[in-house]
Subunit: 295 residues, 3 copies
């Protein structure tokens, strides 16, 4: 494999948005503690508190991430006794062509299910550390810090970024806290009801119900449906079926499985395997989500 694999990076995802200073301040902390380590922003526009959406996005990104540390913050429980953790991965990953050394080694975030899907994509957890109690100033050292007079509501800055920087530099994880059993980590975000979509009139006659994982900027609607299910119900490229949004306003809409957006006529709904490898409902140059009354 001729791919050059780089020095580690920190891959950063959050629900901080871009209107406030939160993302910039975390970058400042990372730069001060791990100068020279590139920080790559995945997205900071996860809807506020939406752990499930963050988890799904992180899983979509995971196959493309290189060596280093994932820092993820969607943390409605900040300030409670929910744990902050660093999870070590190092398994096979989904793409056997990518050597293990070229993948992230640690994921750092709240233990609320946010990391779980990406951990699975990256081969599963081989260890975990509970990030230790926050120490007061003086700042410095590997672990969390809290400057006197500031509230405990910004663990991204005070706890998670210092830990990510420490791990990105190859620091000893045991300086960050005590080991915890990876099997005891939260595996699923607390309940969020995802919109459901029903696939009807498939060539094989089988009806399939699935959930919507994501709606992107272009209005493409990603479904939580293994591609092989499409084969099992006979819906191959060129084949047709119908789609209905459960509890949605509209009736069943014809859909055709295609490979590229441009195969679709104007106003025709398509189902294609998207760039993450999941089936998605799409229009050509228009929003399927809007047409279906979703997000």
């Amino acid at each position: 494999v001729s791919r050059r694999d780089p020095a580690p990076a920190i891959y950063f995802l959050s629900d901080y948005g871009t209107a406030d200073e939160f993302v910039g301040v975390v970058h400042a902390v990372l730069h001060r503690r791990a100068p020279g380590v590139p920080v790559i922003d995945l997205s900071h526009r996860i809807p506020p508190y939406d752990v499930a959406a963050g988890s799904a996005m992180l899983a979509r990104c995971a196959p493309d991430l290189g060596a280093g540390v994932v820092l993820a913050v969607v943390d409605p429980g900040v300030g409670t006794d929910r744990r902050a953790v660093a999870v070590r991965v190092g398994g096979g990953g989904t793409d056997p062509a990518v050597p293990t050394a070229a993948r992230p080694t640690w994921l750092v975030g709240p233990d609320n299910g946010l990391l779980a899907e990406a951990v699975a994509v990256l081969g599963g957890a081989t260890g975990a550390i509970e990030l230790g109690p926050v120490r007061p100033a003086p700042p410095g050292g590997p672990g969390p810090q809290r400057v006197a007079g500031r509230g405990p509501t910004f663990d991204g800055r005070d706890v998670l970024a210092p830990a990510a920087a420490h791990l990105a530099l190859g620091g000893d994880p045991h300086l960050l806290g005590a080991p915890v059993d990876p099997l005891a980590l939260v595996t699923e975000p607390a309940g969020r009801s995802l919109p459901e979509v029903r696939l009807l009139s498939t060539p094989g006659g089988t009806e399939v119900v699935t959930t919507v994982t994501a709606v992107d900027r272009f209005g493409n609607v990603q479904l939580a449906l293994a591609t092989r299910i499409l084969d099992e119900v006979g819906l191959r490229p060129g084949g047709t079926a119908e789609v209905a949004v459960v509890h949605g306003p509209g009736r069943a809409v014809p859909v055709r499985r295609v490979v590229a957006f441009a195969e679709l006529a104007e106003g025709e709904l398509g189902l294609l395997i998207d760039s993450s490898g999941w089936p998605a409902l799409v229009f050509d140059r228009a929003s399927a989500a809007q047409a279906l009354g979703l997000g």
Copy 2:
């Protein structure tokens, strides 16, 4: 010239938006393939599919870009047989004070007109490569790749970023695909009807019709009008005329040519040469676009 000119950078523009993970994933690919090469985001909020807006923005940026590679993705035809190309530039540029070595050498993107205006600003194309057929995994190597099971809808990640990284490292362009005649490149984005503006009652009496190139965050309305035309119709700083939006809701509005925003009274419409060197309709600390019913 005492300007220090740097190692190459990759200058990245797209219509990916910032709510999804697309920009972050492209950064991850660039970092893995060209570690240490800075990636500078120009903007990712080109309106979806709006090749003309992307082309105009890229042209506005071009005079300020340094050595390296431009990566531009506004690509409604992804997945069709539209070509992906790398275009080599190396001519004189518009600013003779900037040595050629300090300018971008390659522009990478879909061959749909997106690159054309910037290519012209950077001195014209001196060569082009059609980015070769996408190879399946194993990943690595200079060119495009597609991981098994993922759809062909994200050429920014799979085709264009790998090519940009390869060129930024000084790699052999012929490893990316076959040469194509630069004269055969698409020179204009497929039709988008830009709003038209009419300039009336000029000092010289001549009427001028032009189009709107861009509306910025502050509501300034940039016009596709060479500055010398203003001189030809006698509209020099201090002079006045009227402006009407063609097919717009309102009537002709008085306008005064100024040099700085602050010369304008509250509610007074101005025409100034903007920071890109184009005439723009402006208010002082208010949105001209809103007042004129544009954008």
Copy 3:
């Protein structure tokens, strides 16, 4: 102190937004003039022209910034005779645990009050330079430049970024312009009327009127109220009072002082010391600003 302190960075804040190319072009200029110096974006979504909001955000960021230069641009007076300045700081700072060498040394921006609060947080001004008259091309050299044919409306690109790059490289500040008396700098942004909030029925019986400094993405409402005032009126954690927005639509609402969001019941308004050390009105996982009819 074991914190590694890095090579200098440039910390960049503006009201340029992210839809246009302005931020990207400034990054390009910084990269060309100070290659290898990291540029950290604090935020570019300060409301257009809102110097007071920019000033407050910069002050909130200041304690977390490392060595280097702050570049701040919220500049409604661009093109007028308002000064552009570089302000040197080097005093004690608010956090005695952070050595002076690990703090920003210069702040660069318009002299309109934007820098004043951050200058104070960073220990006060010990010197200032008025950025000299803009020279025409040829570009290069330490100071401002203007390419022929472009208007004087983008000092971020033409004046402030070149100065920030020069200072970040340790260049001689006197090459940028003449010294000015730091005591003559503008200390307060020109008037913006901030929403006012009244704190009633405090345990101590005293009524307090304060202003809203910021509303963040989560709807948390930061107040310009020293924490010790809360102690003085007897409002300690667990204590209750009432809140009313002056000139607001609603009536006084009960509020309870808490330490973490999660102590609050659904729909219960809390007052907590936020991550910047200021009191803020909050809900748990909902927008206090929306409930109170603010921003």
